[in-house]
Symmetry: C2
């Protein structure tokens, strides 16, 4: 019997649990409760499959399972890759009553979720995130989708999973860079509206980096609880859910400009948060010592704090103009009044943003 925590994402009839604990992938009772029908398609990638696929299939022994193994990495998060899943589902005669299981990191979760949203106009799916980033952020909340060469996550759907199974043991097989990428999203929750949690992350950053099990479990639980609360209040991002995009508008521009996969998403979010803080400071909204405090924590997590050297202000402006927070030509940004005091706002001058980007890119170059 495994010991685990259970959180709930409260969305009426679309509510679902998040399970957090060690060795949960192998727990057949847990996943079995959330599968309807007999056929299960496990979607994973060539990095994760050799490590966790056998355990996952064993836990699903009561069902007819099949597997799609995708290439690894953000550069494969495309409509063409989703089509590989459709091919397999149709070749194997999967019907509307099937379940897809996303076994992997954020890319696998986003692709699989979109495939589940679109196959036969919507089938069930389960998230089994195997990276810190996916466990604390992307597996929860039902945002699914793929990239377009002109913008990140531009094609997708809101489609909630039936459950999220976060097996904390999988963090032992993460690279240091992947671990750090996940920490970016953990830091983000503190920076948005939880100064106490930010303090905790600061005090425990070394324990987190050295993969202390209880520190990681606590960080995952707090992050998921935070996200579940915001998603329950604003499932389709008509308001406060946009706060979760702190650092993401700058970050997505970095990812798109650098070529998907050259910066990990969490790395781009780390630098993006620091840029949001510096822009906020330049507007006179945030004190310099708070900007520096955020920068120090991002740096301590082994994440970049500056945009790529090669990027220019005009590139940022161009790429940010397709952000999903643009309304009739006006880009809303998540900016900061201080640590734990983020706001979604269009209350800044376009020229001020351009000036900030020019100076920030010049410093980085």
């Amino acid at each position: 019997m495994n010991v685990f925590s259970t959180l709930k994402v409260d969305l009426g009839e679309r509510s679902y649990p998040i399970y957090i604990g060690a060795n949960l992938i192998a727990d057949s009772t847990l996943i079995g409760k959330h599968i309807s029908g007999r056929k299960v398609m496990i979607v994973t990638n060539e990095f994760v499959a050799p490590i966790y696929l056998d355990a996952m299939r064993a836990a699903l022994a009561d069902f007819e399972t099949d597997v799609v193994v995708l290439p690894d990495g953000e550069s494969h998060k495309t409509l063409n890759t989703v089509n590989l899943i459709f091919d397999k589902l149709l070749e194997q005669r999967f019907d509307r009553n099937c379940t897809l299981v996303a076994l992997g990191g954020g890319v696998i979760g986003d692709i699989t979720g979109f495939a589940a949203a679109s196959y036969q106009r919507g089938v069930n799916f389960v998230q089994v995130p195997t990276t810190l980033l996916a466990q604390v952020d992307s597996s929860v909340g039902g945002k699914t989708g793929v990239n377009h060469r002109l913008g990140k996550n531009m094609i997708g759907a809101f489609h909630q999973p039936r459950c999220v199974i976060a097996d904390t043991k999988t963090l032992s097989t993460l690279s240091d860079a992947e671990l750090s990428a996940g920490l970016a999203e953990v830091i983000k929750y503190g920076a948005i509206d939880s100064p106490d949690f930010f303090n905790w992350v600061e005090a425990n950053i070394d324990a987190l980096k050295s993969r202390d099990a209880s520190a990681l479990s606590y960080a995952i639980e707090q992050s998921c609880a935070h996200k579940a609360r915001i998603v329950a209040a604003d499932e389709r991002e008509s308001g406060q859910r946009a706060l979760l995009n702190l650092g993401h508008t700058f970050g997505h521009a970095i990812e798109t400009a650098s070529g998907y996969g050259n910066w990990l998403h969490g790395q781009a979010v780390g630098a993006g948060m620091c840029m949001a803080a510096r822009f906020s400071e330049s507007l006179g909204w945030m004190r310099s010592d708070e900007t520096q405090r955020l920068g120090a924590l991002v740096r301590a997590a082994n994440l970049p704090t500056n945009p790529p050297e090669a990027m220019r202000a005009s590139q940022f402006m161009e790429l940010m103009s397709v952000d999903k927070k643009v309304r009739d030509g006006v880009l809303k940004l998540v900016l900061m009044r201080g640590i734990g005091q983020s706001v979604v706002t269009a209350d800044y001058e376009r020229d001020a943003l351009m000036q900030f980007l020019e100076s920030d890119c010049a410093v980085a170059a």
Copy 2:
């Protein structure tokens, strides 16, 4: 001031009107009410554009409009074609607050609706159907999607339009074959559960074929009212909405086997309904004279009543096994107890279906 009828699809906050009347494409007030934001992307095809695009753009003069002209026909109802719409939307910096307008037949409506469902995880769209088939059936109810080489409409979403504008004047530019294809869906509504409407179609089939304006308007209104009622009761097809698939399981198999576009959808539905009736008769469910009455009306509408000569029973069985009404290996069919007495059922023997198909294909060959 145009004279038109208004019907409502009652879906709570997703409710929307269907407008039916002559010259409605040019009515700027009508469409203007249903557009949020400033940017509008008209999606149409190379056949429809030369005839109706100017009027559509003129009606949208208060907005910033742009256009995607797609190749015409069912063979282009693919994920790749949807991607052409995404390319244009992103190149032109369309944000989440934009509106897509589907100006064309069922293929354009299905593709555009799926693009709207998936672009930035969902934007608004309006249906402006220009074929009888789209006006009486596919533009209403929010089913959107594209084909896969292994099955029709296998990739898609439920995504309701903001309104449907059925301009009956567009029927004057339809080919005879397209007009007949639309009549298949009109006949279907009678065959499902409206014997009185079936009688009316029988009595007025010559007027409909000769494009009598009042007969066509009445047929469109009755069909839309019928569909709106069923969709309101069962938006996501968990029950009675499946009745609307009378003739479609056999029909989709015909379309896929023949290569998309070689049979018009309505032609396949015509033959598919007759097959459903003959199979029902072979099970002892439907009287022979009623089967013949349906066949006579389908034939009078200039539609085929038999499957393609080249198709074999085994092909039907194979293609029907991926139908969206399959649950755990069991295919539900829409069968008939009589004209206006259709039922969704799995209460038939697989062997009986195979036997029926063998004999029906042998007769056709």
